[in-house]
Subunit: 127 residues, 2 copies
Amino acid sequence: MATKQALKGLPEDADLRRADSLAREIFSDVANKWALLIIEALGERTLRFSELRNEVEGVSHKMLTQNLRMLERNGLVDREVHPTVPPRVEYTLTEPGRALRTAVDAICGWTHQHLAHIESARGHFDA
Amino acid sequence: MATKQALKGLPEDADLRRADSLAREIFSDVANKWALLIIEALGERTLRFSELRNEVEGVSHKMLTQNLRMLERNGLVDREVHPTVPPRVEYTLTEPGRALRTAVDAICGWTHQHLAHIESARGHFDA
DNA sequence: CAGAATCCCATTAGATACTG
DNA sequence: CAGTATCTAATGGGATTCTG
């Protein structure tokens, strides 16, 4: 421990930087359109892959799988496979996922609240 | 008004669909990494272009300009140009911008709160 | 039905150079 | 300093095909 200090600063500094870069990585994962829309669509419900595909308008098969894998990897959604035929796979938000969802809800709410303001701002800007 | 109803449904339906697609458009604009990081960086402060570039780690000159224009267009940031030489341009969140910022803060807070959980989820998933 | 893999085109974003 | 324009490399994302 003490050996590093002279050359590289306190160990805690390194830990903080590591935590920051991790936080940033997670933020980048999560702060994208499809991920947030999927989280919003799931809400408190459990949905199958095909149901999610219907709920999240405009998402492609590929983007849905990719983002679901990423969310699963980060522990935001739980993926339950029922080994039936045909297969049935269900997705549910985990506790951290639901916690994040409240923030996403806030963004959605914000969007609808400011529709008028934004529309007029656009009109003004585009002129 | 009444003429459309038979063929296209109630006018309110059309209005609702329009509002929804607008909301979706705004959401897509805003729900991206750089836009959210810029909003978070601005916070309550007023920052110059070059200061923002330093605050938002890793953002390129181009991405910063593009996103600032987009945020300005949507009325989330105010852009003030001081016609001096060299030029000085300052960016500030508008009221709607600040409102959205609280939601972004929530996401940032969430990220840091769940660092450990996510890191372990990743470890588990990657195995 | 869920999803992995491939192909391929469109968009994105970085680097660089130029302007007021 | 702030911003635009251009070029290019990389990535994203859709369509399609194939498997359990």
